[in-house]
Structures are given as C-alpha cells and as structure tokens.
Amino acid sequence: MSGREDDATLAAVIDHTRRRERVTRAWLLAPALIIILAISILPLGITIVYSFLTPGTYGGVTWKFSTDSYVQFLFQSDIFDGTLAFNSAYVSIFLRSIGLALGATIGALLLGFPTAYFIATKPREQRNVWLFLITLPFWTNLLIRTYAMLLIIRDEGIINIVLMKLGIISSPLTILYTDTAVFIGLIYSFLPFMVLPLYASLEKLDFSLVEAGYDLYANRLKVLFHVIVPLAKPGIVAGCMLVFIPALGAYITPELLGGGKKLMIGNMIAMQFGASRNWPFGSAAALILMALVVIVLLINARVTGREAR
C-alpha cells in the first residue's frame, strides 16, 4: 500500500521534474525559435505568398492568385502587340550582377590574400593593431563610405586632380558612373569580409610546413600553391562567400557609383516596390535571387563536404 503510494509520489516527482525540464527547455529554446520564426520564416513566407499574387494599382497586392511574376521574369508579352516572347531584360540584369559580384570577389581575394598573409606573419602583439585597422571602416556607415569613394574618383575628384597636377594625364579619367566604379566600390565595401576569414585560417597555419616545402626544393610559387593555399582553403571559401553574396544583392554601391543608368538586382527589386508598384514581381525577383544564393551555398557545401571526406 505504502509502497504503491511511494511509487505514486515518485512518479509525481519525476513527472514534475520532467515537466519543469520541458518548461526550462522551452524557455531556453524560445529566443532561437523566435528569431528563426519572426525574423526568417515569417518574412520569407510573406515574400513567397506575395510573389503569387496580383499587383495592386498603387502598390500593395490584391488577393488573386497569379504566376505572372515568374512568367514575367523570362517572358514578356510584347510591349505593344501582346504576344508572349522571351525577354532578356531581367536575365541580363541578373547576369550583370553576377558578373560584377564575381569580379568583386576575385578582386577582393587578390587584394585580401596578401593582406591577410601579411597580418598573419606579423608578431602576435602587432596583429591586433592590423586587424583593428581592417575593421576600422565599419565604424562609418556604408553610405558615407561609398559617398566618400564617389568624391575620390569623380572627374574633379582627388585622383584626377593629383594625376592632372602631376601631368600624368591631361583630361580627367572617367571612372565614376561606369561599371568600373561599381566594381571598385564593391571591392572596397566588402574587402574586410575577405581579409578576416583568410586571416583566421592563415593564422593557424603551421609555418614549419612552409619551411619543409622549401627544404624539399619547392620554389616560392610552389610553396604558395601546394602548401599555403590548400591549407587556407576554408578561409578562401568562406571569404569568397562572404563577399559574393552581399555583392550580388548590393544596393547602395550601384545606386551611387553606377549613376542609375543600369540596374543591379538590388536596385531592380527596390524599384518594384517603389516606382514600378509591382510588389509581387519584386517578391519573385527576391526569391529568384535567394535561390541563386542557395545554389552557391549548396555547391560550397558539396565542395567542402568532399574535402572533409
């Protein structure tokens, strides 16, 4: 009798503890769940839903199902006679964006690798100073930094004035408001994202392996490509991702330095929510951009996964 009672009390206690554990677990999980739900899944859901609706006359959406937004991305009923034909406008905007983002990634890698290597080979106590200098630009808003870049490269900007004063050129170099300007701006904006992960992997590099390479009669290039680069690969991949992805969706840089004549994806999407008043198409374009990014991430996972094995 008492034994059974004891059992019951024990069960109640266990039950209570379990319940408490469950509650605690729920509380501990809550921040992560809220972040995932509220900041990630919910907006994404709205975007997906909106992309299948019909645009409202003055912005917004009307609740009528339509796949027009996705059709519109590739095809356009001829502006004037209404026949459906392949439309390269949006594809070419995407291709230009991908090209510029790839260029910026390669540029940032070529600049960032030597920089990171330089920092990683400094005495430990000096490295922090160098890293501090790399992160220093983040203290200023991107818009302001991009505007400063505009002042530097414009026709009557610092570069042109100095070059002309020195007599190297006679008329100003036209850099601003070209793809070159956007390219320079993207590299400038995202370079720290390349340097930091590269530094992280180069810092851990065992330099006795480099010496071993030299001992085995490898020249500098061979050491670089057969010893250092393979060991720094995780950093290279991470850096490239961190530059390529934000560069692909860049908004401020092409807006300010590109002169507004040609769109990049970011500007094109923004335009759909502004002057064009086509929220569904803007949502669809944003999702297509996201799909591109996911593909890049999958390729990355594939490549690094294979490395791990």
Partner: protein, 343 residues
Amino acid sequence: MKSLLSLLATASIVALASSSAMAAGELNIYNWGNYTSPEMIKNFEEKFDIKVNLDGYDSNEAMLAKVKAGDTGYDIVVPGDYMIKVMIGEGLLEEVKPNSMENFKNVDPKWVDVWWDPGRNYSVPYQWGTTSFTVDTAVYDGDVDTLALLFDPPEVLKGRINMLNDMNDVINAGLRYLGYGRCNGNPDELREVLALLAKAKPHWRTMDYAVIEKLTSKDVDISQSWNGAAMRARAQRPTLKYAYPKEGFTGWMDNVAVLKGAPNLDNAKLFINFMMEPENAGLTSNFARYANGILGSDKFMEPEMLSAPEIVMPAGAPEPDFVTPCPQEVVDLYNKIWTQLKQ
C-alpha cells in the same frame, strides 16, 4: 577610449532627454529631401512649442510606397499634384478642411479649384514649379530651348547629361520631343518613344534625382531639372541657363497634406494653417527656390527670386503642362519601357 565613449553616450542621453522634455508636442514631417526651410521649421517650433522631426524622400512613388506599407508615424506629407489625387482616392489622406482655416484667405484663388483637390478639402499649396532642364552655356552656346539637347545632343554635350531617375519625367519629355500626347497608350507611338530613349541613353551619363549636386560637382553639363533646383545650381555655377523648350515642359505643384491616422493630428492642422501664412510660404520659397501659391508672400521673398529667369517665364514660352495621373494600362506600358531602358 572607453571613458570617452561613455561620456559621449551620457551626453547624447542627456541631450535626448532634454529635447523631448522641452517641447510640448511633436510633428513628423515627410517631405522631399532638401526642400524644407530650416528657418521656417524653427519658427514653427518656437511659435507652438512643438518639436519637428523631418524625414525625406526623392520621388512621389517612393513616398507612396512607404505610406502604403503603413505605420510610418508621419503626420505631414508633401505629394505632387497627381499624387494628391491618387492618395485621396486610396483613402490615405485626412480630410482636414484647410478651406475653413483662418489663413485660407491667403491662398491664391488660382490654386483653389485645382483638379487634384477641388476646393482644397485635403491640401494646401507648398511650392509650384516646372520640370525642364538646365544647360551650362559656357559649354554649349547654341539655342537651349529645345529637347533635342537631351535626345539628340550636340557633340559637346554627349556623355555629359543627367536625366531625372523618374519614369514619368523621362517618358513625358520623350513624348513631347516626338510631338505625341501624354498618358499615351498608343503602341506605335510608344515604340517610337522607346527607340528614341534607347538611342539617346548612351549619351546620358547618369540618371539621378540629385540634380544640384550633379551640376555643381561638374559631373554633368546639362541636367533635366526642376526650376528651383536649377536656380540653386546656378548660384554655384553662374553659366547655367534654365531652358523653356519649345516642345513643352511639365508644370507641377507640391501640396501639404495630412496622413490619415496621423499621430499628431492637431499639430498637423496647426502646420497646415501655418503654411498658408505669407511669411512662411516666403521663407520656404527663399530656401527651395520655387514659387508658392500664397498671396502676399512676395513681401518676404528675396528680391532676386522675383526676377529669376527660372521663376519668371519669358513671354514666348509655352504654358507649363500639368500632367494628370495615367490609367493603369498606360502605367504598365511605361513600366515596361522603363525596365527595357534600364536593363
């Protein structure tokens, strides 16, 4: 470094606390950028003990998109003529009846029965002007009064042109150059417009709203422009000349209105009445460099405003063309042309 930061933080908290403690109320104004006279705002703040927060936009469409998205917290907006009509139709504006306010007697009768707000139940005049273009006569000394300078430019202006980054302004200019009507849904005529714009685009350096900055930094020598912006640019680049093209140009009026659900409705009404006072309209004109629709404001305007070639139209110039909102089918066509142009 740390102590400096905490000092700064403390200072800013103190500043915030004191500023909100000082004013009896607040007013949130959402106006075009670089378009609000600081002096006029200061007068309003001092007169009513209200703290004004100012935010800016660069196109009617950008403003509409933000207001439509909801919960902006803004009280006052300053939409252009056609946008007033659109926003009334969408139920976005509060019917504050400026026509029964004390200062309504100052509104020029010419601007009372306007098509976008007949009888002025929602809005009052802010500034009005024209959209044409302005050219540096030191660079190009020929006849400036033709849209050919934008669409078929002479050699010296090629690559030195800024167009407004505005679908309607660019397409309307193209329609005028070809001699076709506005809000045009005619496929053949629009095809010609697209061809014209596509052919001219390589000669354009930028498409941007920042007209004054583009001209004064000498990024460009000719820019599509509003007349007041042209006048402000001329102050820093005296050889600029505002054109009154023979093919025609746009006229517009921006109007002060109150958003539906404005958090500070009473203060917003005070502001509407305040903007109809000649002195405040004059201060606004002195800053933004456009004419206003308030009688007696010229007494408060700088003398050069009253004779400026950007404000006083020459005798032979065509009448400004106030463009009404286009039907959705036409907007859709314009959108397609615009995307095609900007790809």
